[in-house]
């Protein structure tokens, strides 16, 4: 089994320090970068596959060299065997279609083509939910999105999954597809480890990959003399390595642009609020009068 997990670094919105330049592009330099929270479900799905079916897991991202830290974080989480970063100034400010082309090319560039590609649902910054499906479109693999549970049957060469269909009525579909296949996990994804041997394997993997992630940490630490690309489990590719025409990637290759970012407008005043002091009984009496007609009957 060979799996690839796509991940993205996103601004850490918990810090609440998001800032934009005048063109409406996010100023990433001013916001700490973390792994996209939804990608963790893709990582868990890949990890489950590795624990249950074995094989190699590669983690791939597109972004500035700073994303090496995101990959290191992911290596710890998914117990990845190797890391790939597609990084080039020409790839910057890409929308989903330009990103999909780049990611698909990165996957094509791998020596051994994957049996499964995993991606998360929306990113915390773009929130489109498009990059996974569009990358799949470039790779032309069977696509299963909104996956909440996964079972890989290597003997038959198929994946079976449950997927969430949210529309007017919510449904859970059971689907089956031949491998290689592309899996987009839903935030509701739950891994299952039903055998004791799985749990042992899990622990074993955790220890070895934690060591690996620490090793990579020495390469990317501030002030380190080591060149991360010398580490044998890390590969960085630019647009020339990938044979990607700059007109088709990054800002230049993006059909869409952000024309403006506006604060959410304040709701116009439509009601005249009666001010109530909670410690003033006659004030509170007015509110209680509104409520008592709806009180539960005895």
């Amino acid at each position: 089994m060979r799996s690839v997990v796509l991940t993205k670094g996103v601004p850490d919105f918990r810090e609440g320090q998001v800032s934009f330049d005048e063109d409406g592009h996010l100023e990433r330099g001013k916001t700490p970068t973390v792994m996209n929270p939804n990608d963790k479900y893709a990582l868990r799905a890949a990890l489950q596959t590795k624990v249950r079916n074995g094989g190699q897991v590669s983690l791939m991202s597109m972004g500035p060299p700073g994303y090496m830290e995101v990959l290191q974080e992911g290596m710890n989480d998914v117990y990845a065997d190797d890391l790939y970063l597609l990084s080039d100034r020409e790839m910057g400010a890409a929308d989903t279609w330009a990103t999909a082309m780049t990611a698909a090319t990165g996957i094509h560039q791998l020596d051994e083509q994957p049996d499964l590609v995993f991606a998360g649902f929306k990113t915390a910054d773009g929130e489109t939910g498009h990059t996974g499906p569009q990358t799949d479109w470039c790779l032309d693999m069977p696509l299963i999105t909104h996956v909440i549970s996964l079972d890989v049957d290597e003997d038959e060469g198929v994946v079976r999954a449950k997927r969430l269909v949210e529309a007017e009525a919510d449904e859970i579909e059971t689907v089956e597809a031949p491998m290689p296949a592309f899996i987009v996990t839903d935030p509701e994804f739950e891994p299952t480890y039903y055998k004791a041997s799985h749990r042992l394997k899990h622990k074993d993997l955790r220890d070895t990959t934690a060591e690996r992630a620490d090793e990579f940490g020495e390469y990317i630490a501030d002030g380190s003399d080591l060149d991360p690309t010398d580490w044998d489990r890390f590969t960085m590719w630019n647009h020339v390595d990938l044979n990607l025409d700059p007109d088709y990637i990054g800002l230049d290759g993006s059909p869409t642009i952000v024309a403006g970012v506006d604060p959410i407008p304040k709701a116009p005043s439509e009601r005249e609020a009666t001010e109530i002091d909670p410690d003033d009984d006659s004030d509170m009496e007015q509110v209680v009068e509104e409520l008592t007609p709806y009180a539960a009957g005895d």
């Binding site: 498009h130 290759g253 009666t274 002091d277 008592t292 539960a296």
Partner: protein, 552 residues
């Protein structure tokens, strides 16, 4: 008489004032006055400079009568640079031909005419030269344009707004109706603004969808394309995309074999496409737009069409230039968990069209239109063979989940916001207790509570989820009484509750936005206010004595 008598002023005072004098004759009078007075040389220089400057300006403005025979070619080149009026330039050209007829002078004037006409002509004038990728990027040996996933157009013809009408269990879902209504409104305005007759085209794909065409027509579609196949009873990414794209390309430059000429469509691809931002609709939108080599904005809550002035060189092809792009679908979407609205545009670039301009729409963003009984539409059945490979992903089973939590139709709704932050579990407990005290109440949440990473204890955790969200991307409620505890009142929340009869807000902040759409604004801490309300509703009256006793 002059306004300014230089003999009465120091030179330092005269300097700034003289700039307001624009009449050379008046300046000459001033000069005479000075000569008749102190005759200060610096003052005279100041006035003379001003006269010279004004007369030079006059000369420039008067290109229409300038004597070209007196001018060098360099003078002419300088002169034409400031003229934007083609008639004036053509007149100059004639005069030059009648006079010295210098080739170099004429080419200066002709170049200027060409550049004005070019840039006025929808920006097509600035001749960008197409450079094939092989030449442009000799270091790459495999141009991306050749990869299988890019089959776009350059200078294609685009018309109409296409609406993908999602169905479930043989029925249209509401967002399909909402999109049809919005599309009708947008295209009516579009046709008026641009003097066009472009259509709203509805697309139906699935099993037994032909039965829905009357209903779709009643919501204002001009043309309905449907594709029926029992194998498409459930959504299937690959085949739905292939069917939609086959329709979109029919009759155009990239039409599939046998589809080059259809009697229902005469353009290359749709101008606009709109999809529902449901799980399947959003996926379909991304795949269709990718296959058509174009872009889209997802989860939009606002759409409008107007021209857009763009300076982004990736789109204009020329750094520093602005160019007006016409008929651009402006797609507004709440971003970053509702902190901002972004407006996304999908815009062609030189030598590569990005059409259709696509969007997916959040369910509930637009009104369901009134159905018109007379709705008439051209109905077209689309025919296409599905390849087995497209159906590789097979749905072997499905379960319909409980419709979840319905917050609508209750007397009272109690909703909790981030004001519970100091003690989230206790906050939820209080809200639930208040719900219990009513005969028929529902328990809701603001988006803030769902997206915050509060840790709740097990017994209340089941009440935290998107199925209880009130607002733009959640449920819309209109109970008799709406109690908003610790909710600041973002506009997305407002749209989910402002039709309630009576709105009671509890907030520690004296100026929370929600104050503007509340009937009662209890300025206080929900952890203190809710217990009072709970016991008052339970007892049928405010527990005055208890409250006072506890204060002692």
């Amino acid at each position: 008489m002059v306004d300014i008598d230089p003999t009465e002023l120091e030179i330092a005072e005269l300097g700034p004032k003289i700039k307001d004098v624009d009449d050379p004759d008046e300046l000459r009078e001033m000069l005479e006055l000075e000569e008749g007075g102190e005759d200060r040389v610096p003052v005279k220089t100041l006035i003379e400079d001003r006269i010279e400057k004004l007369e030079a300006e006059d000369e420039e403005v008067d290109a229409s009568s300038a004597d070209l025979d007196d001018m060098t070619v360099a003078d002419i080149a300088n002169l034409v640079r400031d003229i934007d009026d083609v008639d004036v330039l053509e007149d100059m050209l004639e005069r030059e031909e009648a006079g010295q007829d210098r080739k170099t002078a004429k080419s200066q004037i002709e170049d200027r005419i060409e550049s004005i006409q070019g840039s006025g002509d929808d920006g097509e004038g600035e001749e960008l030269e197409y450079v094939p990728p092989e030449e442009k990027h000799p270091d790459l040996d495999h141009p991306t344009a050749d990869k299988q996933w890019v089959e776009g157009l350059d200078g294609g013809e685009y018309r109409d707004m296409w609406v993908y009408c999602e169905t479930q269990h043989g029925e249209l879902i509401d967002v399909s109706r909402e999109m049809l209504g919005k599309a009708r409104e947008l295209m009516d305005q579009y046709n008026e603004d641009y003097d066009e007759e472009e259509k709203v085209v509805a697309v139906l794909i699935g099993d037994d969808v032909a039965d829905l065409t009357d209903e779709v027509a009643s919501y204002g579609a001009d043309q309905i394309l449907y594709h029926e196949d029992e194998r498409l009873e459930r959504f299937n990414h690959k085949s739905y995309t292939e069917v939609f794209v086959d329709m979109a390309r029919a009759g155009g430059q990239l039409a599939a074999d046998g589809n080059e000429d259809v009697d229902w469509k005469e353009y290359d691809e749709p101008r606009y496409t709109v999809f529902p931002a449901t799980n399947n609709g959003r996926d379909l939108s991304a795949l269709v737009q990718g296959e058509l080599d174009s872009g889209l904005a997802s989860d939009c809550s606002g759409l409008y069409i107007e021209n857009a002035m763009i300076s982004n060189p990736a789109k204009t092809g020329v750094p520093g230039d602005s160019k007006e792009f016409e008929r651009i679908l402006h797609m507004k979407r709440p971003d970053f968990s509702g902190f901002e609205y972004s407006t996304i545009l999908c815009i062609d670039k030189p030598f590569r069209d990005f059409h259709p301009q696509g969007a997916s729409v959040i369910p509930g963003s637009f009104e369901i239109p009134e159905a018109e009984e007379e709705g008439e539409a051209e109905v077209v059945e689309h025919d296409m063979d599905l390849t087995d490979e497209w159906l590789e992903v097979e749905v072997t089973d499905y379960d319909v989940l409980d419709s979840g939590i319905d917050l609508t139709g209750h007397d009272v709704v109690v909703a909790m916001g981030r004001g519970i932050g100091s003690s989230p579990t206790e906050g939820i407990e209080l809200g639930l207790d208040l719900v219990e005290a009513f005969d028929d109440a529902a328990f809701g949440l603001s988006r803030g509570v769902i997206t915050s990473s509060y840790s709740f204890e097990g017994h209340v955790e089941q009440y935290i989820g998107e199925d209880r969200q009130i607002g733009e991307s959640g449920q819309v409620v209109e109970p008799d009484v709406y109690i908003a505890a610790g909710i600041s009142g973002a506009i997305q929340h407002k749209v989910g509750m402002d039709e309630s009869d009576t709105i009671i807000a509890i907030n520690t902040d004296a100026d929370a936005d929600i104050r503007d759409f509340s009937d009662y604004y209890i300025q206080g801490d929900l952890f203190e206010v809710l217990p009072k309300l709970i016991s008052a509703v339970e007892e049928g009256e405010l527990a005055t004595a208890v409250a006072e006793a506890s204060d002692d």
